[in-house]
Amino acid sequence: MTKTMGLKKPAISVGQHSTAGRKDRNDDSYGVLIPEPVLLETKGIAMAIADGMSSSEAAKEASETCVRSFLTDYFATHQSWTVKTSVERVLSAVNRWLHSQSEAHYDSGRGMVSTFSGIVLKSSLAHIFHAGDSRIYLIRDGAIERLTNDHRVRVSGKQEYLSRAFGISRDLAVDYRTLPIERGDILLFTTDGVHDFLRDGQMANIVRAEPNDLDGAAARIVAAAFANNSNDNLTCQIVRIDDPGATDQKALQQRLSALPFPPEISPGSTFEGYKIVRELHLSNRTQVYLAEDQETHERVVIKTPSVNFEDDATYIEMFTREEWVGQLVSSPHVLKVLAPKRLRKSLYYVTEYFEGQTLRQWMLDHPDRDLEAVRGIVEQIVKGLRVFHRKEILHRDLKPENILIDRSGLVKIIDFGSSRVAGIEEIASPVGRPALLGTEGYTAPEYHRDVQPTTRSDIYSLGVIAYELLTGQLPYGRGFTTRRDVDRLAYIPATQLNPNVPRWVDAALAKAVHKDPLQRTEVLSALVEDLRKPNTALITNRAVPLIERNPIAFWKVVSLVLAVVNLCLLVLLFPAR
C-alpha cells in the first residue's frame, strides 16, 4: 500500500475476535475499511466497534447499522468535506434512523440502541468518535491509555445504565477528539464484555506478548475476559499502525509533476483528441482554447497551465484543484468541468463551451441597467454560489470578470482556481499555500485581517458586484489594498451615485458589503430577499442622522449655530455703552 504514488497513505494491520460468550447471540459489531487508493488519500481509513444493547429487541441490527453506515457511508460523503463534518452527518443520520425505527416498530424508547466507538485515520491523525461504553485504547511504547469515556450512570448498587448511546433520543452528543498517530501505535477496540472483566494492563500485556499475531492476541484477550467470568458478548479488535500516512514531500512532488505541461498549442492543430479552433484567452498564468472533440464534434473549452509555472508545485496544485472543484459543483449557474474521457497525457482540463461575455463586458455594453435585470443576475449567481457553499467550498474570487452571461441572460460562475475546499485543507501538504490576496475591490476586508474567511466573504464579493451593477462604482470608492484602507474607507450610499436606487435596496447592499463579517448579511437567501422587498429591520430601525447622510451640511449648520451663539455672547458680554 505504501508503494502507491502520491501522499503516502496510511497502512495498518488488523486482528479481530468476537464471541457471544455466555449469551445466546452476539449483538456486537466491528469492522475496518481500507478504501480504494483515491479515497484512501482523501478520506483515510475507517474503523469501528459497536455493542447493541442487550435489553433491546433488535440489538444486533442496531450495532450493525452503526458500524456498517460508518464504514460505508463515510466514504460516500463528499470528498471535499472534512472528516468531522462527514462523520457528523453520517452518524446523525444513523441515530435518527435508529430512533425512528424504535418509535415506529417497537413502541419503546429502547428498541434499537447501540454504543459506538469509531476512528478515521487520515494524514497521521486519528479522528475519534464515541458514544456509549465500548472503548478505544491506545498502546504506545508498551503503555496503555484509554481514549474514550464510558457514558454510564450508576443508579444504585450494581445498577448501571447507558447515559448516552445511539437510538436513545432524537439528538445525540458524540464525543469527538483528534490524536496524532505514530508508526507502531496500537489501537484497541473493546466492548464491555471484555474491558469490564480485564484490567487495562492485562490487555496491554497480551498484545505485547503477541506483536505479530494480532488475531491471536485478540482471541487471547477475549479468552482471558471469558475466563474472568464475563457474562456479556466479548469483542476485541486490534489495529496496528504500520504507516500513519504522513505526507511525503518526495512522493507528492512526483505525483504533482507526473503529468507534463502541454506544448504550445496553436489554432488548427490537434491536441489529445481535440481540434483546437481558436485561442480564447491567454494570460501569464493560463491559456484557454476553444476546441472541438474529434469523436463527438462537441465544442468544448480547454484550459492549459502556463509554462511559466512548470516547476511551481503550488501552482500545479491549484490548477488541479480547480478542475476537481469544477467537477464537484454541479449547477446550471456554474461552468461545468467535464470529466476526462480519455487518459490524459499532459496537464489540462476541459469545460463546457458557454457562449457568453463577462459581466464586466456586459456592464460596459449595458450602461442603463434596471433593478430587475440586476436582481435576475444576482439571483442566478446566488444559485450557483449556493452549490459551492453547500459543499463547504468558498469561491474566494468572485468578480465581474469571473461571471459569464449569454444573450438569453443565463449567468454562470467560472474560474475556481482560488477556491477553498474544507475537506482538502486537512490533507497535510508540504506545498505552501500562497496567501491569496484576491482581486482588489472584490475581496472581503477579512482577507486583510487574519480572520478565517467564511461564506460571508463570498457574500461580500457578491454584494460588491450587485452594488457595481447598480451604480457602476465600488461601494468603498476603491478596493482595500491594506489593513489601513479597511479602517479608513467608508461606504458610499448607492443612492448618492444612482438616484433611481431605492433607499431600502441601498440598505440591503450596505448590509451585504458590511466590513464586519458578523454584521454582514448572513445567508445568500437573505440577500436575495432584501433586494426583492424592503426589509423593515434594515431601514426603520435607524433613521440615518444628518451627520452621516450629509456631513458637509451638518458641519455647516453647526458652524452657523456656533457663529450665531458667539455673536449673541459678544452682544451680551460686552453690552453697548
Binding site: 502541454p262 506544448p263 484567452h281 473549452v301 511559466n308 509555472f309 512548470e310 463586458q361 468578480k399
Partner: protein, 493 residues
C-alpha cells in the same frame, strides 16, 4: 467565453498589453538615456570644468557602481510596491538628480550626483516584472526582447542627439542644457507612465509575490559557488571605494574609505547569512526534491558571459564618444553620432539574439556571440588614426552586433535554468553585467584604449571557454504533440 486577447502579436495594436509594452520600453529607453546622458557630452564637461583624465574615468565608473546594490534593493521594492510606482519613482528621482549634475561647478558635485544617478540603471528589473505580468508565456520572450532592445537604444539616442542639442543651446554651458533636458523628460515621462499603466491586467487575481532573498540552491557544492559569486559584487564596490580613496583619486578620506570597506564586509556577511537561512534544510542534509533541482554552475557561466557582454557594452558606450573625438579630432556632435554606432545595434540585435537562440540552439548561439565579441574587440584594439575612421565605425558596428545578440541570448536562456527562480537568477546575472561595467571602466582608467580592447577580447575568450565547458543546452520536460495524437517527452533542444 470571453475573448479578450487578440490572436496575433503586433506592435501596432491598441491592445492593453501592447500599450503597456510600449509604455514600458519607453520608460526603459528614457532611463537609459538619463543613465548615459554624460557620455557623449564628456568632452564638453571635461573642458568646462577642467577635469583630469582620471576624474573623467572616475565619473564613468561612478555611473555604474551604485547600480549593483540598487538592483537588489529595487527588486525587493518592486515586490512590495509594484512596477508602476517603482518605475515612476525611479525616473522621477533620477530626473531630479540630473539638476545638480547639470548645475555642478566642481568635480565633487558632479561625482556625487553621478554616483546617485547610477540607480537609474536598475530600471531594467522593474520593466521585466511588468512584462511578465502582462504577457502570456508564448509571447514573453519576444516582448522582453523588444523591451530590452528598444530600451537599451536609449544610450544610442542620447549619444546621437545630446551633442547636437548642446551645440544648439550653444556656448560652454550647452551640455548643462542637454543634461537638464533629459532630466525634464524623465520627470515628465514618470508622470505619464504613472497615469497610463497599471501593474496587472484589469480584474486579474493578485497573488502575494514571492519573497526575494537568497537563492534556493540544490547542493552544498552549489552553495559554495553561490557564496563565491557574492564576492565579486562586493569587490567591485570595494574597488571603486579604493579608486576614489586617498590611494588614487583622493576624492574621499581614508576614514570614509575604511567605513565603506566595513559596510561592504557587513553586506557580504549578511548575504552569506541569508543564504544559509534560506538553504538550511538542504545544508543540514535534507535532499532537494528532483523537481526543484538545478545546476547553479549554469548561472555562474551565464553571469560571466553577461559580465563580458553587458559589462563591456556599458564601458564601451561610456567611453566611445570621447575616444572617437580624441582619436580622430571630430566635432562633439559627430563623435557622438559615430560613437552611437555601438549602442545602435541593440535595437535589433538584442531581440534577434533572443529569437535566434530558439531556432539555432541556445548554447551554440552563445558560443558564436562570444567568439564574435572576442574577434570584434580584437579588431577594435586596432582603432587609431592610422586605420582611419571608416574602419573604426565598421568594426565597432560589427562587434556590437555580437555583443548585443549575446546579451539577448543570455536572457533568452535564463528562464530555462529554473523557471520558478528566473527573477532571482536574472538579478544575479544582471548584477554581474554591472560588475563587468565597473571593472572594465576601472581598467580603462589605467591602460590605453588598445590594451583595453585587447583585454576585453581576452575575457571574451575566457567567457567562451566557460560556456563551452559549463553551460548545457537546457533540457525541459515539455510534452510534444505527435501526429497521431500521442505524446512523447522530448528535450527542448
Amino acid at each position: 467565453m470571453p475573448e479578450t486577447t487578440p490572436r496575433r502579436f503586433t506592435l501596432f495594436s491598441a491592445e492593453p498589453r501592447i500599450k503597456v509594452l510600449h509604455y514600458t520600453w519607453l520608460a526603459f529607453f528614457v532611463s537609459f538615456m538619463v543613465w548615459f546622458n554624460h557620455a557623449p557630452l564628456m568632452a564638453s564637461i571635461r573642458t568646462s570644468l577642467k577635469l583630469s583624465d582620471q576624474e573623467v574615468a572616475a565619473l564613468l565608473i561612478l555611473n555604474v557602481a551604485l547600480t549593483i546594490p540598487a538592483r537588489i534593493v529595487i527588486g525587493m521594492l518592486v515586490d512590495k510596491f509594484g512596477p508602476k510606482l517603482m518605475f515612476s519613482l525611479l525616473l522621477g528621482v533620477s530626473g531630479l538628480l540630473c539638476i545638480p549634475f547639470a548645475l555642478a561647478t566642481d568635480f565633487s558635485t558632479l561625482a556625487l550626483s553621478r554616483f546617485l544617478l547610477a540607480i537609474v540603471g536598475a530600471g531594467f528589473v522593474v520593466g521585466i516584472r511588468m512584462i511578465g505580468e502582462w504577457f502570456p508565456a508564448k509571447e514573453t520572450g519576444l516582448a522582453q526582447g523588444i523591451y530590452a532592445g528598444f530600451g537599451n537604444f536609449g544610450s544610442a539616442a542620447a549619444a546621437v542627439t545630446l551633442p547636437t542639442i548642446a551645440a544648439l543651446a550653444g556656448g560652454e554651458n550647452g551640455w548643462r542644457w542637454a543634461v537638464g533636458l533629459t532630466g525634464a523628460i524623465a520627470v515628465i515621462y514618470a508622470v505619464m507612465f504613472y497615469v497610463s499603466v497599471s501593474n496587472t491586467p484589469k480584474g486579474s487575481t493578485y497573488f502575494s509575490p514571492k519573497k526575494m532573498g537568497a537563492l534556493e540552491l540544490s547542493s552544498r557544492f552549489d552553495f559554495v559557488l553561490y557564496v563565491l559569486m557574492q564576492i565579486p559584487l562586493v569587490l567591485a564596490l570595494a574597488l571603486l571605494a579604493w579608486k576614489l580613496g586617498p590611494a588614487n583619486l583622493k576624492l574621499i578620506s581614508g576614514l570614509t574609505t575604511n567605513l565603506i570597506f566595513g559596510a561592504l564586509a557587513a553586506l557580504f556577511a549578511y548575504q552569506v547569512f541569508d543564504a544559509v537561512r534560506i538553504n538550511r534544510p538542504m545544508l543540514s542534509g535534507v535532499p532537494v526534491p528532483p523537481l526543484q533541482r538545478y545546476k547553479f554552475q549554469q548561472v555562474v557561466a551565464l553571469s560571466l558571459a553577461y559580465f563580458v557582454t553587458f559589462g563591456s557594452e556599458l564601458a564601451v558606450v561610456s567611453i566611445l564618444p570621447l575616444l572617437f573625438k580624441d582619436t580622430f579630432a571630430l566635432s562633439l556632435a559627430f563623435a557622438g553620432f559615430v560613437g552611437a554606432s555601438f549602442g545602435f545595434t541593440t535595437f535589433f540585435a538584442r531581440p534577434a539574439g533572443g529569437g535566434l537562440s530558439d531556432h539555432f540552439g541556445r548554447r551554440r548561439l552563445m558560443l558564436l556571440c562570444m567568439l564574435g565579441t572576442a574577434v570584434g574587440y580584437f579588431a577594435m584594439s586596432f582603432i587609431g588614426p592610422a586605420t582611419g575612421l571608416v574602419f573604426g565605425v565598421t568594426v565597432t558596428f560589427l562587434c556590437s552586433l555580437f555583443v548585443n545578440a549575446g546579451n539577448g541570448a543570455v536572457y533568452a536562456m535564463l528562464p530555462l535554468i529554473k523557471r520558478r527562480l528566473t527573477g532571482q537568477i536574472a538579478g544575479i546575472v544582471g548584477a554581474f553585467g554591472n560588475v563587468g561595467g565597473v571593472l572594465f571602466l576601472t581598467l580603462y582608467s589605467f591602460v590605453t584604449p588598445q590594451t583595453f580592447f585587447f583585454v576585453a577580447a581576452g575575457t571574451s575568450l575566457v567567457g567562451l571557454a566557460l560556456i563551452y565547458f559549463f553551460v548545457e543546452e537546457p533540457k525541459g520536460q515539455i510534452a510534444e504533440e505527435m501526429a497521431d495524437g500521442s505524446v512523447t517527452m522530448i528535450d527542448v533542444a
